[in-house]
């Protein structure tokens, strides 16, 4: 039974470590920008999409064009 206190101790150490990490993260400006990081991960410097016939299975031609458009518009933002 007394092991509960030991576990609580360990739990507090782990949680304390997390708390420390949290404070560090906030102070060092990790969360100053809470939008851009989510977009940044979408861009890599190499060609990611397995081309050329990527869209082959799309059933209608219209959707295909739409998708290409959105792809382009995202690329332009970059």
């Amino acid at each position: 039974m007394s092991v509960v206190f030991f576990l609580i101790g360990i739990g507090i150490i782990v949680a304390g470590g997390f708390l420390f990490a949290f404070i560090w993260a906030v102070r060092s400006g990790q969360y100053d920008d809470d939008y851009a990081p989510s977009v940044r991960i979408l861009f890599d410097g190499y060609k990611d999409e397995p081309k050329p016939e990527d869209q082959k299975n799309t059933n209608s031609g219209k959707e295909k064009i739409d998708e290409e458009k959105t792809d382009k518009s995202i690329n332009n933002k970059k």
């Binding site: 092991v3 030991f6 949680a15 990611d48 016939e53």
Partner: protein
């Protein structure tokens, strides 16, 4: 700003992906064997390594640590360099991690089937493998943290935070739960006993689910779902809240696995409160994942990757709603020890972990091989087989869980148990178990289709091992001296962490044994240590994995006290290294098996039952254990076992240890003599004698107390 060019090496991630698929199929197959072994005990073909008690730990370990484990590493080694814009810190460490982990898996498979086990669920592996796991885990963490320190991006993306929490917490859990005293290379006793062991074990067990099956997969979700949908996560702010809230709450919920057991009430209540609180961050995460796809549902219709992610994230939401529900004491009174638990964990593993992994693999392989996926329709078929397979698995088990729990608790109007024969309550749910196995076949078939699909994809393309990327260096803009300075300040951080870990381990090793052993003084005076023969029988009980089907914990309900006898007391387990309370009653509870009451069976019954359970009841689903009647007890190890127990605080006297072998032989002779009188041909030194001695000892200690006029409270 200086732009630097660098290359990602995909080989490590690809290798982890390949073994993920391999161990996944193995894990599902072993699960199917386990499901069939429950339905037809003859599946074991009288071979020890095919009995449910040994197959089930292999299944759980393979699914968790081999399948999901390798899937996590696949995702981490692929996403981490890309998120941080730097190659992995060390390829050598990466490959050590890879081969080390595969070695652990092979050793685990061999040792578990051979009956080498600690008898603690999800932590069954023996001490040499435990040490290896710790070493490989540290290599993984070292490589990851060093990569993070090398990063070119200032910001650390949320997925990486999830990976970090996984590393830190799993390390602590594994070390704390694995304190054990080796007796030989293949046998050890845990430091903790009884209630202590139960609390540590389920603190570990719960957090293994939290930090091995949840947080790393959430990290994968935050990388692969946006990537596959090609749009940012719905709310990055929510993901930050999700992360911190989740990890702070998760580590306190462990005791919800021990509701109504002989653990302190306040600890149980603590576990319940935190479990309920967990709904909020969990659902925040689910919603964040699903809403990422807003405006992209047309893509979900066509892309099997996104379909799998949607079902996976939904399953995460469902099981994290169900978990808190099961933590409510009133619900747990029904669900615990039944198939409901099994259904719950499979929504988590088949749905959440499995689907996320499959989706990730279907997304990765075309990118590894720079070619389109071989067949989208085959992947869609896999999607449906997996989704329906999961439902065919879980729904019958929900039904079975309710049915059996209600039958256990059913009284006649006269106040007697309605279903006195435990087997009746199993026979009733057998059809559900058939359906469950069918669900398993569907899920496995889907996985086989994936293997074909991915092999064909790989054959069609050429593996693109290296991918070039570029980013601004993080130091650029500062003067050159800064680099050195940064390196310097990096060292104290590492040093502090290492020092802290060293202090922690040192401190724990120093004070823990003393502290725990002192508390092992029994509060019930009549509770005595096991005799050498009973101890040996207990080790055989652990080896055969009896705890996988039989609990040893009578909860304080009228229906249970009526069926099994006086409810279990904390003081009864003080010498139990490890505790054997179990978590599922596929067979009846054994906590009071030796008590001479309604449930009592003579030695001869036990003998017949072990050798051929179907002889005592044709419908029995227990596999036969004929080798127990032909294997001899390993007498040489007995004194070492007693000495180890003494070190752990079990009060054996020196004389008892010295005379252990003769005491064992004497007791065995008595039991064998009795058996021979009832017409059973058996020799004194057989393992079955030890197991019978253990059975007849179970739960009898407090009876002696009340017989001699003492209270057993």
């Amino acid at each position: 700003m200086a732009i630097e060019k660098f290359t990602y090496d995909n080989k490590l991630a690809k290798s982890f992906a390949v073994v993920t698929i391999l161990w996944g199929v193995v894990g599902f197959l072993v699960g199917l064997i386990a499901a069939l072994a429950i339905l037809w005990p003859s599946v074991s073909m009288e071979m020890p390594f095919l009995t449910f008690g040994r197959v089930r730990p292999l299944h759980t370990n393979a699914a968790i640590f081999a399948f999901v484990g390798n899937a996590i590493f696949t995702g981490v080694y692929y996403s981490l360099p890309r998120l941080l814009k730097t190659p992995i810190y060390s390829k050598i460490l990466g490959w050590l991690h890879f081969w080390g982990w595969q070695l652990i898996i092979v050793l685990a498979a061999v040792s578990l089937l051979a009956g080498i086990t600690t008898g603690k669920e999800y932590a069954e592996l023996e001490w040499p493998i435990d040490i290896l796991i710790a070493a490989v885990w540290v290599i993984f963490g070292w490589n990851m943290i060093a990569t993070i320190l090398n990063r070119r991006t200032r910001h650390i993306y949320v997925a990486i935070w999830f990976y970090l929490a996984t590393f830190v917490t799993v390390a602590v859990l594994h070390i704390v739960n694995s304190f054990e005293l080796p007796v030989s290379l293949f046998k050890s006793y845990p430091l903790y006993a009884g209630v202590q062991d139960a609390l540590v074990q389920w603190w570990y067990g719960h957090n293994a689910v939290a930090f091995f099956l949840t947080t790393p997969i959430l990290g994968l979700m935050y990388y692969f779902v946006p990537k596959a949908a090609n749009r940012p996560i719905y709310s990055y702010k929510l993901s930050i809240i999700h992360f911190w809230a989740l990890i702070f709450i998760y580590i306190w919920a462990g005791p919800h696995h021990l509701l109504y057991s002989s653990t302190p009430d306040w600890a149980q209540a603590l576990g319940v409160v935190f479990s309920i609180a967990l709904i909020a961050p969990s659902w925040g995460g689910m919603i964040n994942g699903l809403l990422t796809l807003r405006g992209a549902w047309d893509k979900v219709r066509q892309d099997p990757v996104l379909k799998m992610f949607v079902v996976g994230v939904t399953a995460y939401g469902m099981s994290t709603f169900e978990g808190p529900l099961l933590s409510l004491k009133s619900v747990n009174a029904i669900s615990h020890f039944t198939d409901w638990t099994i259904a719950h964990v499979h929504i988590g593993t088949l749905g959440w972990n499995g689907m996320l992994t499959f989706g990730m693999l279907y997304w990765l392989f075309p990118r590894f091989y720079k070619v389109k996926l071989y067949s989208t329709s085959l992947a869609n078929t896999h999607f449906w087989l997996a989704t329906l397979g999961m439902l065919f698995f879980a729904i019958p088990l929900y039904f079975a869980g309710f049915t059996q729990a209600l039958m256990w608790k059913q009284f006649t109007p006269e106040g007697y148990l309605k279903y006195t024969n435990f087997l009746e309550t199993y026979t009733q749910i057998r059809t559900m178990h058939l359906l469950r196995a069918f669900g398993g076949v569907m899920y496995l078939t889907g996985a086989v289709l994936m293997v074909i699909n991915l092999i064909k994809t790989a054959q069609a393309g050429k593996f693109a091992r290296y991918e070039e990327d570029q980013a601004a260096s993080r130091e650029s803009g500062n003067h050159g001296a800064e680099t050195f300075h940064r390196r310097l300040e990096r060292k104290p951080v590492t040093f502090t962490i290492l020092a802290l870990v060293a202090i922690l381990i040192g401190g724990i090793v120093e004070f823990l044994p003393m502290f725990l052993i002192k508390s092992n003084i029994p509060t019930i005076a009549s509770v005595k240590p096991y005799t050498p023969l009973e101890l040996e029988g207990r080790d055989i009980y652990i080896r055969e994995g009896c705890y996988n089907c039989h609990s040893q914990m009578i909860r304080p309900f009228r229906s249970e006290v009526e069926r099994y006898g006086e409810y279990s007391k904390a003081g009864e387990n003080v010498y139990d290294h490890p505790f054997q309370w179990g978590s599922r009653r596929t067979g009846p509870d054994l906590a009071r098996e030796g008590v001479k009451g309604k449930m009592y069976k003579p030695d001869s019954w036990h003998y017949e039952h072990f050798v051929n359970p179907q002889k005592t009841n044709i419908q029995s689903i227990m596999p036969p254990y004929p080798w127990l009647a032909s294997n001899d007890i390993d007498v040489d190890k007995i004194p070492a076992k007693l000495r180890a127990m003494k070190k752990l605080g079990v009060p054996y006297s020196d004389a008892e240890i010295e005379n252990a072998v003769s005491a064992l032989q004497k007791q065995a002779q008595g039991i064998a003599e009795g058996l021979r009188q009832s017409g059973i041909e058996v020799e004194d030194q057989r393992e079955i004698i030890a197991l019978i001695a253990y059975m007849q000892r179970l739960g009898t200690d407090i009876g002696k107390a009340s017989a001699s006029g003492m209270t057993s409270k």
